[in-house]
C-alpha cells in the first residue's frame, strides 16, 4: 500500500550469548535467503493504525509480501444467545483473499488460525473491563508471504490498542523455521514449505510473559533454546516498533 517511507523499521534480534555457536554445516552463516536477508534478519515491519474507519479500531501490517488488515469492533452486544457473563468475550476470525496465495483459492484452513489467534490474544485483554459484551477481532490476509500467523497476531494487537480496548500489554509474535542446522527468523512461504520444524512465540514484551508458544517438527534442545532467544529478542524489538506506531498515530 502507498505512503510507505523508505525507512520502515525492522526488528532483527541480536543474540550476544550465542556467539560461540559452531557454524552451521549445510550452508554457512552467511547464507543469503531468497529475499536477500541473512538467517537472523527480519523483514522490515510496516505498521499503521486506523486503516478501516468503519471499525472501532484497526491496523494494517506489511512485512515483506505478507499483508494483513485487522478490524476490531465493539465492545458491542454479544450476537450469540449465551449465558450472562460478567467478563467480556473475545471473538476472532481470520480469512484470506482468493488471490492471497500463488495459486488461486489455495488459502490455508482458517478455522484453526482463528482459534489460535483467539488464544494468543485472550491472555492480554482485560476482559473484565467490558462485562456482558463482545469484542470482535477480524483479520483479512490480503497477501500471504510467510509467517502469516505472527503478523496477524501482531496486527490484531495493534488494532485492539487502537480501538481503546484495555490490555495488560501489547502482544508481539515472531516465528522461526528450523532448516537443517539453521534457524531462520521470520520465514517466507517458500522457506516454510521446506522447513524441518517451526516455532511461534507470542508474548507481552514489557511484562516478559509468553502468551503462546507453538513448536512443531524436529528440534534439538540447543536449537530450541537458541530459537526461543531469537524470538523473544525480536518480539521485544517489534514491540518498540508497535509503540512508536501507536505514538505517531496520536
Amino acid at each position: 500500500m502507498a505512503g510507505k517511507s523508505s525507512s520502515t523499521p525492522t526488528y532483527s534480534p541480536s543474540i550476544t550469548g550465542n556467539k560461540k555457536k559452531k557454524p552451521p554445516i549445510i550452508t554457512g552463516s552467511d547464507w543469503v535467503r531468497a529475499d536477500g536477508r541473512h538467517l537472523h534478519d527480519c523483514r522490515p515491519a510496516y505498521l499503521r493504525t486506523g486503516s478501516v474507519i468503519s471499525a472501532s479500531g484497526s491496523a494494517y501490517a506489511e512485512f515483506g509480501n505478507t499483508k494483513v488488515i485487522v478490524s476490531v469492533f465493539g465492545p458491542r452486544e454479544s450476537k450469540k444467545a449465551m449465558m450472562y457473563s460478567d467478563t467480556g468475550r473475545l471473538n476472532c476470525n481470520v480469512s484470506y483473499t482468493t488471490f492471497s496465495t500463488p495459486v488461486r483459492g489455495q488459502a490455508p484452513e482458517t478455522k484453526d488460525l482463528s482459534s489460535t489467534l483467539h488464544k494468543a490474544l485472550e491472555g492480554a485483554i482485560i476482559l473484565k473491563s467490558f462485562p456482558k459484551t463482545t469484542v470482535d477481532v477480524f483479520a483479512l490476509v490480503l497477501e500471504s508471504g510467510g509467517s502469516d500467523l505472527p503478523v496477524i497476531t501482531t496486527c490484531a494487537s495493534l488494532a485492539l490498542a487502537d480501538a481503546g480496548i484495555m490490555l495488560y500489554d501489547i502482544i508481539t509474535s515472531v516465528s522461526v523455521s528450523c532448516v537443517g542446522k539453521n534457524i531462520i527468523i521470520d520465514p517466507l512461504s517458500e522457506e516454510e514449505n521446506y522447513q524441518d520444524g517451526s516455532m511461534v512465540i507470542t508474548c507481552m514484551p514489557s511484562r516478559n510473559e509468553v502468551t503462546q508458544m507453538t513448536v512443531t517438527g524436529e528440534w534439538s534442545t540447543t536449537s530450541i533454546h537458541e530459537a526461543m532467544q531469537l524470538c523473544l529478542d525480536a518480539c521485544s524489538k517489534l514491540g518498540k516498533i508497535m509503540r512508536t506506531c501507536l505514538k505517531e498515530a496520536a
Binding site: 465493539g74 465492545p75 452486544e77 482485560i126 467490558f130 481503546g164 514491540g239 496520536a250
Partner: protein, 230 residues
C-alpha cells in the same frame, strides 16, 4: 488538582510506577506479579493529587485522551433508548446514547413492568406507558438476586487477578440483565418518555405525568412521561 505539565504519552504495558507511590485510575492497573502499575490504554498519563485532607497521599494515575471505543451501558448510567416493542409485561428498547454520548452500535434494553414507575408498580399497564418509536430516558439497573441495590460502581479499577485467568476474588454476582439485554428502569420523575410521535406523526407535547398531546389533532395519548429540567 491536575498536574498538566507532566503529561507523557504511553501505550498498554508501559510501566507507570509503583503502587506505593501511585493509585491506578482509568487506563491503568496493578500487576500482582511484580507489584507494578502499568498502563492498559494508549494515551496521556495524567496524575491527580488527592485532597489535602485525604488519608491516602498517593496521586491517582490515569491514561486518557486517545481515541476511546464507543460507550457501553453500565449499571447506574442514564441512557436514551428508542422503544422497539411493547408487550404485556415488558418493553424492548434500543439503547442509542449512554449519558450524552451516542453508542457506535445499538445495545438492547428491557423495561420490565415493575421498573416503569416507583409507585403502584403492580398496576402498570405497559401499553399505556410506551409505544414503539418513543424515545425514553432510563437508568441502567443492576441488582443481585435479592434486592434492588446498585452494587457496581462506575469506573471500577481493574486489579489483575492471578494471571492468566484464575480469578482470585469474584466481584459480587450481579446481573446486567439477561444474556444480552440490559435492564432499564424509568421509575423516577426525570425518567420516561422524552419524545414521542402521535398517531398522526406529529411530535407530541407533554401535558402531565401520564399524558401527551398531539399539537395538530389535539388527541391525548397515555405515556410514562419524563419530567424535564429541574
Amino acid at each position: 488538582m491536575k498536574e498538566s505539565a507532566e503529561e507523557i504519552f504511553v501505550t498498554p504495558g508501559e510501566v507507570l510506577g509503583k503502587p506505593s507511590e501511585l493509585k491506578p485510575g482509568k487506563g491503568a492497573y496493578i500487576s500482582a506479579h511484580d507489584n507494578t502499575v502499568y498502563a492498559s490504554l494508549t494515551g496521556f498519563r495524567s496524575l491527580t493529587h488527592p485532597a489535602a485532607d485525604s488519608d491516602d497521599p498517593r496521586p491517582t494515575v490515569e491514561v486518557k485522551g486517545h481515541k476511546a471505543h464507543g460507550p457501553v451501558p453500565e449499571p447506574g448510567a442514564i441512557v436514551i433508548a428508542r422503544v422497539t416493542k411493547v408487550m404485556a409485561k415488558m418493553a424492548s428498547a434500543d439503547i442509542i446514547c449512554v449519558g450524552p454520548k451516542s453508542v457506535r452500535e445499538k445495545f438492547t434494553g428491557t423495561i420490565r413492568q415493575q421498573d416503569v414507575r416507583a409507585t403502584e408498580i403492580d398496576k402498570v399497564e405497559m401499553h399505556s406507558s410506551f409505544r414503539p418509536g418513543d424515545i425514553v430516558r432510563a437508568l441502567v439497573v443492576s441488582f443481585n438476586a435479592k434486592n434492588n441495590t446498585v452494587l457496581f460502581c462506575l469506573n471500577p479499577v481493574y486489579e489483575e487477578s492471578s494471571f492468566p485467568s484464575k480469578a482470585s476474588k469474584d466481584i459480587e454476582q450481579l446481573s446486567l440483565g439477561d444474556a444480552r439485554a440490559y435492564y432499564l428502569s424509568t421509575a423516577k420523575n426525570e425518567l420516561g418518555v422524552v419524545s414521542a410521535e402521535s398517531a398522526a406523526g406529529e411530535t407530541m407535547v407533554p401535558i402531565s405525568w401520564t399524558e401527551m398531546q398531539c399539537p395538530s389533532t389535539g388527541q391525548i395519548e397515555p405515556r410514562k412521561v419524563a419530567k424535564i429540567g429541574s
